[in-house]
């Protein structure tokens, strides 16, 4: 039982290190590195709300692709009741006109590589 203090101290230090991501994130409320993204050209809003788009735009794009290419559909009925043409270059990039300042900047921040623009023609060129 003579080692008790040492063990408790050691365990505490270990847990502290283990929880580094948690307390590091709690410590800094405003992330200075968060990228400033290009605002949409059209202020009337996106096809779905922002929270959904931030989290699920990749799924939405995959669904659009399947609907257009495989099932030959053209329009997406949004939750709001409006219909949008399912087109990456036409609809999405019509408002988010700069793939560098919108897609790439956030994806670089999130460290997720996108390959869309190796084929799709970005509005500001290749």
């Amino acid at each position: 039982m003579r080692d008790r203090t040492g063990i408790i101290l050691g365990l505490g230090a270990f847990l502290l290190i283990l929880a580094y991501p948690v307390w590091q994130a709690l410590g800094s409320t405003a992330d200075p590195a968060r990228p400033a993204l290009q605002r949409s050209v059209d202020p009337s809003g996106c096809v779905e709300d922002t929270t959904y788009m931030v989290a699920r735009h990749q799924d939405l794009l995959n669904t659009w692709r399947t609907d257009v290419v495989r099932d030959g559909r053209r329009f997406y009925p949004a939750t709001s009741g409006k219909e949008y043409e399912m087109s990456l270059t036409g609809t999405c990039m019509g408002c988010h006109t700069d793939s560098q300042a919108f897609c790439e900047r956030c994806h670089a921040y999130a460290d997720v590589t996108i390959t869309c623009w190796s084929c799709h023609v970005a509005p500001e060129g290749l």
Binding site: R65, R70, C119, V121, G125, L126
Partner: protein, 279 residues
């Protein structure tokens, strides 16, 4: 109990054979297999009729081919081994090998013919694709490609008897034609290295009610109106149906049973000129 070991084994074997034959009693199995392969015709089947005579003119074919390249950002790879073609010119003897005989005139053998994907009713490329990256679209009969899913195995290229598919051996972007602002001529996605591409009957135009780019371009050339006709063969009132009903037409390699949907109009073709400008 007078069952011998031998008899027990024999009965066991008979019972196993009996159980194995049970699925044969299921009538659904027989009905399904009796149905022909293409028993589910699509509601629409886009088709094209190419006028052999009108398309012997160089400018007409060039109008079609360059319209296609511009519309789909088709790269012009200088190495012919790596060339990418959606619609191109083939000699008559290669486009219609089973129509050429020992006494076919040289002028005919070498007459230029415009060729593209036939969007077959029974496409062999679709059968071999391991990822369903190419498939026959049920809504309009177009043999589509999903570049996102193509893994570049090139089975489809081996299966296609018309050579209608091209493989991207390298990144095609440097070979895509640009405008003055260094932008590609069209918004159509370019492709990536390692995927197979081909004509899609301009699915992106057709879905908005416009004719394919080649059809529009050919018919805009003066004197070549009607060189290419596009329409729905399942609609008896369409232009293609009308021509197919009233004039003799041929298809490429019908004997293979692929059911091509690109037809060639031959009735008005006189003996070809002997010059070889188009060959």
């Amino acid at each position: 109990m007078d069952t011998s070991r031998r008899r027990f084994l024999r009965e066991l074997g008979t019972a196993a054979v009996g159980v194995g034959c049970l699925p044969l009693l299921d009538p659904a199995r027989w009905l399904q297999e009796a149905a022909p392969v293409d028993a589910t015709p699509s509601t629409t089947q886009w088709a094209m009729i190419i006028d052999l005579d009108k398309c012997r003119r160089n400018d007409v074919r060039e109008a079609c081919m360059s319209a296609c390249r511009r519309e789909h950002n088709v790269p012009r790879v200088p190495d012919p081994e790596e060339a990418i073609d959606w619609i191109w010119t083939e000699e008559y003897q290669h486009a219609f090998p089973d129509q050429v005989h020992a006494r076919t005139a040289v002028a005919w053998r070498e007459a230029p013919v415009l060729v593209l994907c036939n969007h077959c009713t029974n496409p062999p490329c679709v059968k071999v694709c391991p990822t369903k990256a190419t498939w026959k679209r049920e809504t309009d009969g177009i043999v589509m490609m999903d570049m996102h899913r193509c893994i570049g195995c090139r089975y489809c290229m081996a299966a296609c008897p018309y050579g209608a598919r091209s493989f991207n051996w390298r990144d095609p972007r440097p070979f895509v034609e640009r405008d003055a602002g260094d932008k590609p001529l069209s918004e159509y996605p370019t492709r990536a290295a390692g995927v197979v591409e081909k004509c899609t009957f301009c699915s992106e135009r057709v879905r908005t009610g416009r004719p394919p780019a080649c059809v529009e371009a050919a018919n805009a050339v003066s004197g070549a109106e009607g060189a290419l006709t596009f329409g729905d063969v399942t609609d008896p009132e369409s232009d293609v149906s009308r021509i197919l009903q009233s004039e003799p037409t041929i298809c490429r390699r019908v004997s293979l049973g692929t059911g091509p949907n690109v037809y060639y109009r031959v009735s008005r073709a006189p003996a070809p000129a002997t010059d070889r400008e188009g060959a």
